[in-house]
Amino acid sequence: MPAVLALTLAAPGPAVADMSDDGARLAAPCAGCHGTAGRVPEGSVIPGLAGREAAELSGLLAAYRSGERPSEEMGRIARGYDDSEIAALAEWFAAQPPRNEP
């Protein structure tokens, strides 16, 4: 089972799921493609989100939403969120460490 090792490389820290944080709640299902807390597996064509600038992430989501930036999936996904939700998502991902401490 060679894939087993790869699955255990990135462990999320406790901040991954915070009951009171709206960003955490909205971001949780993004993990399906972008990895737990925005940390993707090695070599993924889907970009990681953890630790990127909030302004960059919210700008990208707005550009996907308007169609200014073409995409396969992100246009429709971004249209699922309003401005304040996009801001909460962007801030939350920006606050996540891009890699786990060992």
Partner: protein, 423 residues
């Protein structure tokens, strides 16, 4: 509606009780607040792990029969010889080692709703709340000639387990010029685009390795259930003369001795036949009274995925009733999203807090060939008016055409979401 009262005395589980000595004694006594999760599949794993991430003070016991996780997503790729069984088989170890989840590998015999307990072959495990994600039970009623021999001759390969490898091996043994048959049940079934992805990847395999071989499809539905234009175009353009697709053709009869599957109109004699059967919520939920009499799926309140019939019990995944949830597909991605919502709701209930409103995403990637795929997806929020999950306006959509990038994303999606559940 407890196991002891109803099933044993009324004889509902009499056969099972005599065949398997169910031990009624309590095992694994709780040391603090505890959630017991049934099912180490997409919904159950996600719920178990996210409870521990949200509140490490809550004990989680996960009960699953299989020693290792087997992924249905990507299993079509295995059947089409694009990936191996090893690549869809993953260890549960990190859940106990990193997240402190207690995993019990045993057969679940019943759910005791009153006692909030899971009755297993090894004893009874009780909790303060239950999260149930047992998936589907196959339903072969109404198919003439169905038998144990038929089950061996016409594997489903539609749930985690060894039939994926079996179907893959049978395709490898198909003679040149041979015939494959595949039957699709009426919707709703798990993974709307799944049968069509499987047809495409079998066709790709035949084209490359089995000159002259064909695949005949009997679909109970009026038309291709998901990504219809994309699959049809792929079959016409990439596999002309290989895919013979017949809509509105429910399976009514099988003959295991000749390998024949029949609709009301056609008899298809095949060298290899894959019968994807009709599906309903796991029989465990029916037996426990968590599915109303005469219904097929388990109704829930999608705010926290509690059963509408028992407020301390959450039900997630394919077993849930879409008319109670909203228009979500029975997908692994949705089961994962539901697991996170149920985890928050369970933690909130155990800590005296209010659960936040649910927010879910689905994206289903399908391959149409080894190189190209297409995706479908949506974002869902909770609507207080309807009490259902509703698609956020504008967020639902399908790829306009097949593409190479989606095929790459599909594999990286699987790697990411496996890690989200198991890492």
């Amino acid at each position: 509606m407890s196991f002891t009262r109803r099933s044993i005395l009324a004889g509902g589980a009499a056969a099972l009780v005599s065949a398997l000595p169910v031990r009624a004694e309590r095992i694994l006594p709780a040391t603090g607040p505890r959630v017991v999760v049934l099912g180490g599949g997409w919904g159950g794993l996600t719920a178990a792990k996210y409870i521990r991430l949200l509140d490490p003070g809550i004990e989680v016991v996960l009960i699953e029969r299989r020693a290792a996780f087997h992924s249905c997503p990507i299993s079509n790729w295995v059947i089409g010889h694009l990936r191996t069984v090893d690549e869809i088989t993953h260890s549960y170890a990190a859940l106990s080692e990193r997240h402190g989840i207690r995993i019990l590998h045993t057969e679940v015999e019943a759910v005791d709703v009153d006692a909030k307990a899971i009755v297993t072959a090894d004893g009874v495990v009780a909790g303060d709340r239950l999260i149930l994600s047992p998936g589907v039970t196959f339903d072969y009623t109404g198919i003439d000639g169905w038998s144990e021999a038929a089950a061996r001759r016409f594997p489903a390969a539609w749930s985690p387990g060894p039939e994926t490898a079996l179907l893959r091996a049978r395709l490898a043994e198909l003679p040149a010029g041979g015939r494959v048959a595949l039957t699709i049940p009426p919707s709703p079934y798990r993974c709307p685009p799944g049968p069509y992805e499987r047809i495409s990847l079998i066709a790709a395999y035949l084209k490359q390795h089995k000159a002259g071989a064909t695949i005949t499809v009997l679909d109970a539905n009026q038309k291709i259930v998901s990504k219809g234009k994309i699959f049809q175009a792929a079959w016409d353009q990439l596999y002309p003369g290989i895919v013979d697709y017949r809509p509105d053709s429910p399976l009514v009869q099988v003959d295991a001795s000749t390998g024949t599957v029949s609709s009301d109109f056609d008899d298809v004699a095949a060298d290899v036949a894959n019968v994807i059967p009709s599906q309903r919520a796991s029989r465990l939920l029916h037996d426990a009274g968590l599915v109303p009499d005469g219904a097929t799926w388990a109704p829930v309140d999608p705010y926290g995925f509690t059963s509408t019939l028992s407020s301390d019990i959450h039900i997630v995944g394919d077993a849930t009733d879409q008319t109670s949830v909203g228009k979500v597909p029975k997908s692994g991605y949705i089961a994962n999203s539901m697991g996170k919502v149920a985890a928050r709701a369970a933690v909130a209930a155990l800590t005296g807090n209010e659960a936040p409103p649910p927010s879910l995403i689905n994206t289903c990637y399908s391959l149409v060939s080894a190189e190209e795929g297409a995706s479908v997806g949506a974002v869902y929020g909770y609507d207080v008016e309807t009490g259902l999950l509703e698609v956020r306006p504008g967020s639902s959509g399908v790829s306009s055409q097949r593409s190479a990038i989606v095929a790459l994303q599909a594999w990286d999606w699987a790697r990411a979401i496996w890690q989200d559940m198991l890492g």
